[in-house]
């Protein structure tokens, strides 16, 4: 009966209940949407950095970080190349010889990082071939082809088949220069690569540097699944005395981004819930004050304080239980809509988003557990919101309350 009474009490003032229920539903929907949107940005940035730049695991010489260059090449590269056949979780591998150098065009010259790669291996690890916007992937240029980003091409004022000169230091610290021709221009999803990386064939750079075909200072491994990251790293480290690092160790900003995102999501949730809390308190307080006389009568005929309190809490609980699922379903349907219709297109902000290595089409996504968690948070907020009005109600003196007009 108290359940029935609480339910009927909610609908005494339909407009007021509708307003507070709408506020709860919209609040919940906005949290779902914001959290999903945040998640999609973080996922996009992380996925792009991982897939198109760092890969899951990289191996360097132990001293490479203190002196990046040719002096500290990875030890026993042939063994490192065998890892994919030994470890099932590895999908692909790319060995690189990376040196700093200068690239000069007839118009200007720039400092760059020269990545000497095996084109097929690199395509399998970073999908570099997929980013070509002009030209071909090391094809149609027989001697010394290079790939560079659209950004570098614009700065150098070169196009496909233009000639550029790359200047680097060889193994003996002699300055060596070589003429290369632009085979393709790419636009990677990694801002770092777009900024100052050019790709040449390993054999071409080896010739220029007087290095051997087995000269590498970086190996990048793409795994089939992120879940096996730590295990695979440990297995690799057990087999080599080179430095084995996961992408999280290479780029600690991954953790920072996730941490910042997590804090942002919590702050948004707290702000929305605080707004809802005050809305609920206000509504329930009005409901109690409107029913002062009735509550006085209930106390007079023998309704215990605890039951009055229970009734008020129940009313608040019902309001949240009706409205929160509406918000949750709304949030779910919004996410579903964007999934089915090709994502949320923020191409208007593509320039800014690219700076962070993000796509501009977003697919809002959220863990299923977040729905449940949010429901619990709303229920908790409703209970907290019910406390003050309930205290007000149970502190009414029956005689004084009955006399109220």
């Amino acid at each position: 009966m108290i359940l029935t009474l609480a339910w009927k009490n909610i609908w005494r003032s339909k407009r007021r209940s509708f307003v507070v229920m709408s506020a709860v539903a919209i609040g919940v929907w906005s949290i779902i949407f914001m959290v999903s949107f945040y998640n999609s940005i973080i996922v996009a940035i992380s996925r792009n950095s991982l897939r198109y730049d760092y890969s899951h695991i990289q191996i360097h010489h132990k001293n490479y970080l203190s002196d990046p260059g040719l002096n500290f090449q990875v030890k026993n590269p042939s063994m490192l190349m065998e890892f994919p056949s030994q470890m099932a979780d590895i999908e692909s591998i790319s060995g690189r010889l990376i040196v700093n150098g200068m690239v000069a065009s007839p118009k200007t010259n720039l400092g760059v990082q020269v990545y000497a790669i095996d084109p097929a291996d690199e395509a399998a690890v970073t999908d570099l071939s997929g980013f070509l916007v002009k030209g071909n992937y090391f094809k149609n240029i027989k001697r010394n082809p290079i790939l560079l980003s659209q950004k570098l091409a614009d700065k150098l004022k070169v196009k496909v088949r233009s000639k550029v000169v790359i200047t680097v230091q060889d193994m003996e610290a002699n300055i060596r220069a070589g003429a290369f021709r632009v085979a393709g221009i790419f636009h990677s999803k990694s801002p770092r690569i777009n900024k100052d990386v050019i790709y040449v064939r390993h054999t071409d750079l080896s010739d220029l540097l007087n290095a051997t075909d087995s000269s590498f200072n970086e190996f990048a491994y793409l795994l089939k699944d992120n879940k096996s990251l730590v295990k695979t790293k440990q297995m690799m480290q057990a087999k080599t005395d080179n430095l084995v690092r996961t992408y999280r160790e290479i780029a600690p900003e991954f953790d920072l981004i996730e941490e910042a995102s997590s804090v942002s999501k919590q702050v948004i949730t707290v702000i929305v819930m605080l707004a809802l809390l005050f809305g609920i308190i206000n509504t329930m307080l009005m409901a109690v004050l409107e029913r002062t006389k009735e509550i006085g009568m209930l106390r007079a005929i023998g309704m215990f304080k605890r039951k009055i309190c229970f009734m008020i809490v129940l009313e608040t609980f019902m309001i949240s239980m009706v409205s929160a699922p509406v918000g949750l379903i709304g949030g779910f349907l919004t996410n579903l809509y964007f999934k089915k219709t090709g994502g949320m297109d923020l191409s208007r902000y593509a320039g800014a988003l690219e700076q962070y290595g993000s796509d501009f089409i977003f697919y809002p996504e959220i863990d299923r557990s977040t729905y449940l968690l949010l429901m619990l948070v709303v229920i908790m907020t409703a209970f907290i919101g019910a406390i003050y009005p309930a205290i007000k109600a149970i502190n009414l003196k029956p005689l004084e309350a009955i006399k109220k007009l």
């Binding site: 009966m1 108290i2 029935t4 009474l5 009927k8 009490n9 609908w11 005494r12 006389k293 009735e294 009568m297 209930l298 106390r299 007079a300 005929i301 023998g302 309704m303 215990f304 304080k305 039951k307 029956p398 005689l399 009955i402």
Partner: protein, 227 residues
């Protein structure tokens, strides 16, 4: 058998500033089955007296015993339980729960008493019959006339099988026809089931039907006569 006994009961408002003596040394006992009207001019203390008997207001001095149990020293929670179990209330403004139907209003107090559903059902149907409002059982208070609402209020007061019913100006908002019908029902309950009624009223129609009339002036009983 004594249902109520008041001994030297006093109520003084503002005792520390400007004391107002609402009830002054009242001694009174009410036997089971009485149909008593407490009468007097406005402000004489009728409602205050009823409130103290019902445990809604505390006395300044003296004691109230209901069925040989003193309610003077009871805690708020004990008083609530006591009212629920032993006292029925009928208010001037009916004070029904507007969102519940007539039947649900009657049943609500039995739910508070944790009575089983079958008994609640039987007793509420019986009371609706006796009050002559069975046809209105599914209507909300706003859909009932004043007389019908007050009959629901009487039924609610009786639903908990109280030792007595306190009715504060129960006919003040009713027309003649409704007043007569309500008084007929209460008189019948009093006669056939020995339900004890105590009214505060200045309605001559109620006074005419009362078996005992207690006249209160300035918080003191000036006359107490059985008709």
């Amino acid at each position: 058998m004594k249902v109520i006994e008041l001994k030297k009961l006093s109520k003084i408002y503002n005792p520390n500033t400007i004391p107002v003596r609402a009830i002054n040394d009242v001694n009174l006992s009410v036997e089971e089955g009485e149909f008593t009207a407490i009468v007097g001019p406005s402000g004489c203390g009728k409602t205050t007296l009823l409130n103290m008997i019902g445990g809604l207001d505390a006395s300044s001095k003296g004691s109230v015993e209901v069925g040989n149990i003193s309610i003077h020293d009871m805690s708020e929670s004990e008083l609530t339980a006591f009212r629920l179990k032993h006292i029925g209330f009928v208010f001037q403004a009916y004070n029904l729960i507007p969102v519940l139907t007539a039947k649900e209003n009657i049943e609500f107090i039995m739910v508070l008493q944790n009575i089983d559903a079958k008994t609640i059902q039987e007793r509420s149907e019986d009371l609706l019959n006796r009050m002559g409002i069975k046809d209105q059982k599914n209507r909300r208070p706003s859909e009932l006339s004043g007389g019908q609402q007050q009959r629901v209020a009487v039924a609610r007061a009786l639903a908990s099988r109280p030792k007595f019913v306190l009715a504060d100006e129960p006919t003040a908002n009713l027309d003649s026809g409704s007043t007569e019908a309500l008084l007929d029902i209460m008189a019948k309950l009093n006669k056939e089931e020995k339900v004890t009624f105590i009214f505060s009223t200045h309605d001559q129609r109620v006074i005419d039907r009362a078996k005992r009339i207690i006249k209160l002036v300035d918080g003191e009983i000036v006359s107490d006569e059985y008709i």
